[in-house]
């Protein structure tokens, strides 16, 4: 079976003062369906850039990236937007909900861009909110919800489009310990249901809850181990 993510010899950098500053150096990474991978590394290690590449938000200078059978480097901006919409559910550190929209409208957003009918959107959004236990708050605005609830709305938004990959960038970074634990519990639950999850963090305790840990340091992949929990 083809892996969900296949990164080969990916390098990325930018020019500064006539010198090339490497950010990612010759990264190769394969992730199969159903895996739960944590990418760890200190800030400045290049893990955020790697996440942007995996999330199709940016294209690398060199190397190959195949996501669910698509060669991402060869796609136009609009095709990339479609890949992000259909293949990836983003969970951000700062939630990134739209403040003017209610919870259910935020969850509907990716489905709008997918072009689903109003009725189907509504049904799937409500179902996703039920999954995170927030269907009673569906008409609340983000500022009427606690941090943990906002992150659960964001998770529901990631789930609503039923993408093969959930990409979480420091999902507990903006939460206190207890709510962070709740959110992690929920992410583990999603993994148990069969979702493929890639989680970016600098927190080793969080990373240890994943089945596989990949360490990035100075743009190099330095460690790739499996947790035997």
């Amino acid at each position: 079976m083809e892996p969900l993510i296949q990164i080969e010899h990916m390098s990325h950098g930018y020019m500064m003062g006539g010198q090339r500053m490497p950010i990612l150096q010759d990264i190769s990474l394969t992730v199969h369906k159903g895996e739960f991978v944590a990418i760890i590394g200190p800030s400045g290690s290049g893990k955020s850039t790697l996440m942007n590449m995996i999330g199709c938000l940016d294209l690398s200078n060199s190397g190959d990236y195949r996501l669910d059978g698509h060669n991402v480097r060869k796609l136009s901006d609009n095709r990339l937007a479609r890949i992000r919409n259909e293949k990836i559910g983003f969970i951000f550190q700062s939630f990134n909900l739209l403040p003017k929209l209610s919870a259910v409208e935020n969850v509907e957003l990716p489905l709008i861009y997918r072009g689903l009918s109003h009725r189907e959107r509504k049904a799937r959004a409500i179902q996703a909110l039920q999954q995170v236990g927030l269907e009673e708050r569906m008409h609340h605005r983000p500022n009427q919800l606690s941090g943990g609830q906002q992150q659960r709305v964001a998770i529901a938004r990631a789930l609503a489009g039923d993408p093969p990959l959930l990409l979480a960038d420091e999902p507990t970074g903006a939460l206190d310990t207890n709510t962070g634990r709740e959110v992690m519990h929920m992410i583990k639950g999603l993994h148990a249901q069969g979702h493929t999850i890639i989680l970016i963090t600098h927190d080793l305790d969080i990373a240890d809850q994943a089945k596989r840990v990949v360490r990035i340091q100075n743009g190099l992949l330095t460690e790739d181990r499996r947790n035997e929990a």
Binding site: A81, N96, G115
Partner: protein
Amino acid sequence: MIFFQSIRMALLSIIGNKIRSFLTMLGIIIGVSSVILIVSLGLSFNNQVTDQFGDLGTDLLSVNIFGYGAVTSMTPEEVNDLGHIPGVGGVSPTITGSVTAKNRNRNTDTNVEGVLPAYEYVKDFHVQRGRFLLNIDNQYRQKVALIGSETATKLFGMQDPVGRDIRLNGDTFTIVGLLKAKGDSLMGSNDNKILIPLATAERFLQTKGIQSFEVKARNPQNIPAIKEQLQQVLTAKIGDPSGFDIFDAQAMIQSAEKTTALLSASLAGIAGISLIVGGIGIMNIMIVSVNERTREIGIRKAIGAKKGNILLQFMIESIFLSTLGGSFGIGTGLGLVWIAGHFTPFQIQYAWSMVAISFAFSFIIGVLFGIIPANKAARLRPIHALRTD
């Protein structure tokens, strides 16, 4: 579907910044309302002018002989001869004076005009009771009179004046007819006057010769040709083209229309410039809005919005701002026109064509001045947009 969502988002964003949106629209509101006000007033004024000159008759030429030089007047016979000019339907000479008219203890100052029976046809001015002046009245210098409706009310109240006697500067005249009410024209009241036979007037007002007469064309189209003929005949008779004047209502209407059209076009042009300034205001605020919402754009792009989706959203917002401003402007403009109609004697005319044009124009402004900000938003790269706070 995305279209409706975009409209909704545009509305939310406009409502979310009420004061800012209002100030942004203000330029368009002022521009559109002044265009509508100016063009409506111009149109109303034009109609007013056309009506008033039209009341004088577009098939009439009024001739005045000024009374300097060798020949200062014409005889009634000479004036009558002008009826032979091709296309002329009738000629009506007039001698005018002022008198004090008296009925027992009531009196009023009024104009008296000595006229011929042709007056009825030329001026299209008829009696409502009694009879008009006849040739025989003129021939025998009868002291008979027609009385205007307003003068009749002043002297006789509600009583029927026909058959009664009045005294004009001490001479007794018998009223044989009551004129129809005609209202006011540029030349003054039509209803506050007394008509007597021309020959009677010559003696009564101690005036010899005609200095004022009107020529009626059978068809308004003949007026320019008749005017030319008249010009030649009168120049030959009087010897000097500046010794007389031929007033032509048609020509007056045309020149007045030209003037007001030019005036309202230039004023509307200035107002149109303010519309463009308003459009720049919209562009400015849209750029601010794009900058403020960089993060929102990043989020939308991350979860799958294409360039076109973002472009559409911001274009709709800009078009919404400008057409909403345009609609407010139309409302304000029509309101101002209505108020102007209440406080001026004008019969007000709403410039409906301008309402449609301004709406279309404000729509176009929304499109034109929305393109740059919307394009800026659509071209933001998601990672840069997401990194912004």
